[in-house]
């Protein structure tokens, strides 16, 4: 069963086509990575899927229009800009969008390792800690689909590894469908069940070993980028 079904999706900004007639499906319970060079339309694709920007074509999530299933989607945006001097604790931030009966020391907060951050101010967190808080925020509503827009940007290598372990954990243990945008090709190669390559058009779509061929990599990034075989984390 498809968690996301996209048919002939196009997005134009003025005269410029940002996404050109994309069609693909994301299977329920799988971990899908969207890759592509800067400006290839990855974030635009997320925004179109969520109905945040005007687009042509059809998007169905769990076979329904997006508006009807917004509460079943958790979302971690690419950038989370805010006045870092504002005193908002992690506990307060999580309570802003949480269901009524959430608990800061609940299982989920422990799993995402934010239970120890509850009394810290969100403006004082490191990049990795803030990402964990954003993931917790997205998971607290118990979604069926989790969308992550470049979740490990601004985190060091060790932090990124821990982060992807966490994503793998929520995907496997909770049966959550995860779609993430990433620049770390080697990381997602070993992690994802499905890879969608984007560069305005759909360049590839399928399991990593089939989808990420040498030709596709050259088409996306030029001849200088290559995959490090099947290296695992």
């Amino acid at each position: 069963m498809s968690a996301i079904s996209v048919k002939n999706l196009s997005v134009d900004y003025g005269n410029q086509t940002v996404l050109n007639r994309l069609s693909f499906d994301v299977e329920k319970g799988k971990l899908t990575a969207i890759i592509g060079p800067n400006g290839s339309g990855k974030t635009t694709l997320f925004k179109a899927i969520l109905g945040l920007i005007p687009h042509q074509g059809q998007v169905r999530i769990f076979q329904k229009p997006v508006r009807e299933v917004l509460r079943r989607i958790g979302y971690v945006p690419q950038s989370f800009d805010f006045d870092r001097t504002l005193p908002i604790t992690v506990r307060e931030f999580l309570s802003f969008g949480a269901l009524r009966h959430w608990h800061p020391s609940g299982e989920l907060c422990k799993e995402v390792h934010v239970d120890v951050l509850m009394d810290r101010l969100i403006g004082e967190l490191s990049g990795g800690q803030l990402q964990r808080v954003l993931i917790a925020q997205a998971l607290l509503k118990k979604p069926d689909l989790l969308l992550l827009d470049e979740p490990s940007s601004g985190i060091d290598i060790e932090g990124a590894k821990a982060f992807y372990d966490l994503i793998k954990h929520v995907n496997h243990e909770h049966g959550l469908t995860v779609v993430l945008i990433s620049h770390e090709i080697n990381m997602v190669y070993s992690l994802a069940d499905q890879i969608i390559c984007l560069n305005r058009d759909l360049i590839c779509n399928g399991p990593p070993r089939q989808a990420l061929t040498k030709d596709v990599m050259e088409q996306l990034y030029g001849s200088e980028v290559s995959l490090r075989g099947h290296e695992h984390l």
């Binding site: 509460r71 945006p77 805010f82 005193p87 604790t89 931030f93 969008g97 101010l121």
Partner: protein, 271 residues
């Protein structure tokens, strides 16, 4: 001191000051969080057209200013959503157009206009009983809304996309926030005047930010600082026979300076 409080105009000023102090301080948190300081300043100036319209048609200028400002706020929210004009440019457009319309409308009215002067520079001591009732009803309704909805409002202001996915109607919240700020600003104009009204939105929260350790404490301390500014400003202005609005603003600024200096001193000692 107590003798002054027996005077009806002083009692009205005190009640109005307390109501507006709480309202503007709470709302100021969201204004600062969403970086809307220019919006509040712009709507204050644009409300001149509403004041002028009221004077021209012999209606209550407070009511016409409330109506016109609310409409302009809705227009700004719509322009921000539906066009590619930058939000500060939208405010700039409405700010100057509203002000210009106000100046033209005033030019049709001859003679000295005491109401106009109280709107330009504020005169809390001249608040009439009917205005106080109107102020009280609106201020209590908005304060109740803010206390009840502060979590959802905060999330919307922090990140509208996350808020949308949390089931918050972001378009309605954006329009509502703009209208509420516009209405609160117009009410505040009676106390501080068009030129100074933004101060009570910005100064208390900026002071509280210096030491608050959570969002809830920020809300509480912003209100406390705002009330101290209003009360001390009101009493001082009566004793010193100075313009009330300006003294309230300077009291708020003095509290900010003292808090800032105290914090710097404490951090120097720690180091």
């Amino acid at each position: 001191m107590m003798d002054i409080l027996l005077l009806p105009f002083m009692q009205r000023a005190l009640i109005a000051g307390l109501l507006l102090g709480v309202l503007l301080a709470l709302l100021g948190i969201f204004v600062v969080l969403r970086r809307m300081a220019f919006f509040s300043d712009g709507i204050a100036h644009a409300s001149l057209s509403g004041v002028a319209l009221g004077l021209l048609v012999n209606a209550n200028p407070l009511l016409t200013a409330l109506g016109v400002s609310a409409l302009l706020a809705m227009l700004m929210a719509w322009l921000e959503r539906r066009t590619k004009i930058a939000s500060d440019a939208v405010v700039g457009l409405i700010f100057t157009a509203g002000m210009a319309a106000g100046v033209i409308l005033i030019s049709f009215k001859t003679g000295y206009q005491p109401d106009l002067m109280s709107f330009l520079f504020g005169n809390i001591l001249a608040i009439r009983p009917d205005e106080l009732w109107l102020m009280g009803v609106i201020a209590l309704a908005v304060v109740f809304f803010l206390i009840h909805e502060y979590k959802r409002l905060a999330l919307f202001v922090l990140n509208p996309e996350i808020a949308l996915l949390a089931g918050i109607p972001v378009v309605a919240y954006q329009t509502l926030l703009y209208v509420i700020v516009a209405v609160a600003v117009v009410l505040g104009i009676k106390m501080l005047g068009i030129v100074l009204v933004s101060a009570l939105l910005i100064v208390p929260v900026s002071t509280a930010k210096l030491f608050a350790k959570s969002f809830r404490s920020l809300m509480a301390w912003s209100v406390v600082i705002s009330l101290i500014s209003v009360l001390s400003g009101l009493v001082l202005s009566v004793y010193l026979n100075l313009p009330t609005g300006a003294v309230i603003v300077l009291c708020g600024f003095a509290i900010f300076c003292l808090t800032f200096a105290g914090k710097r001193l404490a951090s120097t000692k720690k180091a």
